[in-house]
Symmetry: C2
Subunit: 124 residues, 2 copies
Amino acid sequence: MRSLGQKVELLRIIAHPVRIRILEELMKGVKCVSDFEEFLDVSQPNISQHLGLLRNHGVIDYYMDGRLRCYYLVDPIIPEIIELLGRDYPEALPAPACCPVTRRGKYPGKRRRRKGRGPSAREI
Amino acid sequence: MRSLGQKVELLRIIAHPVRIRILEELMKGVKCVSDFEEFLDVSQPNISQHLGLLRNHGVIDYYMDGRLRCYYLVDPIIPEIIELLGRDYPEALPAPACCPVTRRGKYPGKRRRRKGRGPSAREI
DNA sequence: ACATCATATGCAAATATTATAATATTTTTA
DNA sequence: TAAAAATATTATAATATTTGCATATGATGT
């Protein structure tokens, strides 16, 4: 299982407009750097930097074909996340049942003990 | 549908260890700030900052219950992403069929035209 | 009204991310 | 082997994110 740190790392790597576009394209198939240049509208070195980042984090890899570097997806979670992001979610989650606001405190959880001293007031 | 910018924004907001923990906890139910203090091991102001950030981006909201702020999930994509991140993916994606490396150039896509001048050499 | 509890806010310092520009590397072809 | 094509690397400047700390706010009970 992915650790908390790995989850964060993965999301941070995906969370960039150029890199999302790269990943979306790679879901369609193998692409080389100059393919990305065609539609990405950022400089070639910048594209290489993003590709390098994705590769260092094990998200993509490449094979050489002549002088082309052919990049492809490696991490199977990527298509799933990209797909999720593309979905439409018309409804918000249902509000928690305990709403609406109460005056007396209908908070569903137990209250914590105060910091240093022993148990204070009442535990609701 | 979410724009590219919105996708990036969403991922960036989730991509933080404290915020992921917060969201994971909120998937179990309503929680107030001092609940988070118990297991998050960061300062209360810092927790409030993260909660504020999540709220500003429409990911969570709260209702008041006495002096407690009871936070809950709003954006329905959150549980899905959190669930994805928790999954196990034992296998990498299958390598593209066009591998292995060729000398002659078996690149599956069309090559692009060179920048300024008309069509160069051959289009493979 | 006052003290207290629960939480938020503002700001500066520390850190991280990103784009840009210049240059280097590698492979192929002539 | 030199030139060209395709891509990578590095340093740097600009910007964004995150944290810590002090303090502020608002609700509740007395």
